[in-house]
């Protein structure tokens, strides 16, 4: 859609090797966004993470993964949140334009516009938008990227609370830092920066020590998702005019042929003698 330069927009660099799993980000997110606590049980989902999934009350959470390293049990983590794509699928499919990629970086949701069709939930490759299933007239809920804090000159709540792993700043600088870290410690990191190209580039980029799919990262296309629908939708005006025009032409030709045939018959009638016409 928009060909805006995203390099100066704010992005999260999340270095999962530095994450301690303290879940300060989860708490800070709940506090800043005033989200209700969820009544959960331990081990209700896969592994140690709690709550079991992101929901209307949980915009971000830390996923845990056990693995063995040198005979020792170790934990690896993955912070799940909205990826704030450079060209967001949710914004492209929303019929009322309730999602917007802001110039500051976060993708925000305008609840006053939303009609609740849930197309954003189908479209999002990361499964981020969640629905208020408990309500009669539900809305969509998702990470705001703390747009209000960012416009006020603060950093997002999770980035502020995180003691180790999250760096927040212009996207090109974040990518530079990530590349430097990978180059400096090739033994520590997987040689991939997740989010640099995924879904056409996102404003949340990750570094890990374990393969991304093992941590629960979704394998997504590198093309911006709106392109997939736009390659069909761009033909809409042409299709309308082609079908309308060709059917109009076709019926005009057919009606004209009928008219000429009738006229010819009438003319033949005129040619016949008057006494026959009277009958």
């Amino acid at each position: 859609m928009s060909k805006v330069d995203t390099s100066k927009q704010n992005a999260f660099l999340i270095d999962m090797t530095k994450c301690t799993g303290c879940r300060g980000c989860q708490v800070a997110c709940k506090q800043w966004n005033q989200l209700e606590a969820e009544n959960t049980e331990f081990f209700s989902g896969e592994g140690y993470q709690n709550p079991p999934a992101m929901s209307e009350y949980t915009f971000t959470r830390i996923k845990f993964r056990d693995y063995e390293k040198n005979g020792q049990n170790e934990f690896a983590f993955y912070k799940e949140m909205c990826m704030h794509c450079d060209d967001p699928a949710c914004a492209s499919v929303c019929p009322v334009g309730a999602f917007e990629k802001t110039p500051e970086g976060p993708v925000i949701y305008k609840a006053d516009r939303c009609i609740g069709c849930r197309f954003c939930m189908i479209a999002c490759p990361f499964g981020v938008p969640k629905y208020e299933w408990s309500k009669g007239l539900p809305l969509v809920k998702k990470c705001t990227g703390c747009h209000d804090r960012v416009t006020a000159g603060l950093q997002p709540a999770c980035a502020t609370a995180c003691p180790t792993a999250i760096t927040y700043g212009p996207r090109d600088e974040m990518i530079k830092i990530a590349e430097e870290r990978v180059a400096k410690h090739p033994d520590k990191y997987i040689r991939k920066i997740y989010g640099k190209e995924e879904a056409g580039g996102t404003s949340v980029i990750y570094l890990t020590s374990l393969p991304f799919d093992e941590l629960g990262f979704k394998k997504v296309t590198l093309r911006p998702l709106p392109e997939y629908t736009w390659q069909a939708l761009r033909f809409v005006p042409a299709a309308f005019l082609t079908v309308g025009g060709s059917l109009s032409a076709l019926s005009w030709i057919n009606h004209r042929r009928d008219r000429l045939k009738n006229e010819q018959e009438d003319a033949e009638q005129v040619d016949t003698p008057a006494d026959e016409k009277e009958d």
Binding site: M1, A53, M54, S55, A89, S92, V93, C94, P95, V96, G97, A98, R113, C114, I115, G116, C117, R118, F119, M121, I122, A123, P125, G127, K130, Y131, E132, W133, S134, K135, G136, L137, P138, L139, V140, K218, K219, V220, T221, L225, P226, Y228, T229, W230, Q231, A232, L233, V236, A239, F240, V243, G244, L247, S248, L250, S251, N254, H255, D258, D266
Partner: protein, 414 residues
């Protein structure tokens, strides 16, 4: 009070089947009330993994092509000038109008914020297939309403509106076909965004075109089924001769669809195709039983001429289309570890919508002249209310032509 009593007396006289349909519709109305009182989460089995359930898969994605008969037949009769099929047009338009009205009902129930539905008209997003479908469905429902007004105007003898409607007929037919092309195909565009979610047996970039072509096939088959059912259960004359003509067109459209489907699978989709046994089964059921088998049947002259086998072939195409839409919008995106199946309330609402369609069709056919429509008695030329044009024909004959449809409508009343 007398009016209420008259209505009650009228309903008492209905056939038991119609009464059963009324019961199902009332049940669905109660169920949809529950949806607003208790919320979508409590009444449906939809969740964050399956944000779209039965209501979108059937009430919208499947019901729209099932209502495609109106535009398909309109174009065949008026644009391709196969005028003898004219008697089938009105029932098709009524079916289409009912179908689209009920799509709107289903959509309103499914929306989280139905009172904000009009926002589509205010905040345009040209990049959204949903925006396009919403606009088209609104526009097309209006077009179908105008087309549906013709029998209403005939019934009540509204002369001027009838003339305007007749004059508008051709533009409306062309508009209907153009709008339908857009939204039938855009329903396919919906799922182009589900690029890593929809299984590769169904995901391909030509999904919009496939949706459009299959909708046209299905539209004709619906007309065959509908006319046969009206003959069997509603005491209408057998339109077998006309349906034979329609069945002659079907092998071409079905053949084109099958060719496209195989071509997209071979050339445009990226495998793996047959990694999930259930999907493989669904795919072969859909394409084999639902499209290739009826294609072969319709190519045979004896099937086209036989009322029973023709309607079976048509039903197979409808089965194929319904399965295809469910495969694309529901089954093909399912995770075997966490399945979706519709809740009782979701099912009741959808059953009620289908029952409502049948019920309203029967009632409209009972009170309005939709079958007793004789094209040879209708003057389709531009109205000449003031008789300014002297076309050389005797005046008496012309006036007779205008009066006739009303006359036939009036005679139905008595």
């Amino acid at each position: 009070m007398t009016a209420v009593r008259a209505v009650a007396k009228e309903i008492k006289g209905y056939h038991a089947f119609v009464k059963f349909m009324i019961f199902l519709v009332v049940l669905a109305a109660v169920a949809s009330l529950a949806r607003f009182v208790f919320g979508l989460g409590a009444t449906t089995n939809m969740d964050d993994t399956y944000p779209w359930g039965l209501w979108i898969s059937f009430d919208v994605v499947t019901a729209v092509p099932l209502a495609a008969g109106a535009f398909t037949l309109g174009a065949i009769v008026h644009c391709f000038n196969i005028k003898k099929l004219e008697p089938l047009v009105r029932p098709a338009i009524v079916t289409g109008f009912l179908g689209y009205s009920l799509v709107c009902v289903g959509l309103v129930l499914d929306l989280g914020q139905p009172h904000k539905g009009w926002h589509v008209l205010r905040y345009w997003n040209l990049h959204s297939p949903m925006f396009e479908v919403a606009m088209c469905v609104m526009a097309y429902t209006t077009v179908l309403f105008l087309e549906f007004l013709s029998p209403v105007a005939e019934k009540f003898g509204w002369h001027i509106p009838l003339r305007i409607l007749r004059w508008l007929e051709m533009p409306l037919v062309i508009l209907a076909a153009a709008i339908s092309t857009l939204h039938q195909s855009s329903l396919g565009t919906f799922f182009l965004i589900a690029v890593d979610k929809l299984h590769s047996l169904w995901y391909n970039p030509l999904l919009p075109l496939l949706f459009w072509v299959s909708a046209i096939c299905c539209g004709m088959c619906i007309i065959i089924v509908e006319a046969t059912a009206c003959h069997k259960w509603m005491g209408q004359p057998n339109e077998g001769v006309l349906l034979r003509t329609l069945a002659k067109i079907l092998p071409y459209t079905l053949g084109f669809y099958i060719f496209l489907r195989v071509y997209t699978l071979m050339a445009l989709s990226e495998g793996p195709f047959f990694d999930v046994p259930v999907f493989t089964l669904l795919f072969f059921l859909e394409l084999g039983i639902g499209f290739i088998l009826p294609f072969l049947m319709f190519t045979s002259n004896s099937v086209r001429n036989d009322d029973r086998r023709r309607v079976i072939a048509a039903l197979l195409v409808i089965f194929g289309l319904v399965l295809n839409r469910f495969n694309v919008s529901m089954f093909g995106m399912m995770d075997p570890n966490h399945m979706y199946y519709p809740s009782i309330i979701e099912s009741l609402v959808t059953i009620g919508i289908i029952a409502g369609h049948i019920l309203f069709f029967v009632l409209i056919a009972k009170y309005f002249p939709i079958f007793e429509h004789h094209p040879e008695t209708v003057d389709y030329t531009i109205p000449d209310s003031f008789h300014k044009i002297d076309d050389g024909k005797p005046k008496q004959e012309k006036e007779q032509k205008e009066v006739l449809p009303e006359g036939s409508a009036a005679s139905e009343l008595s």
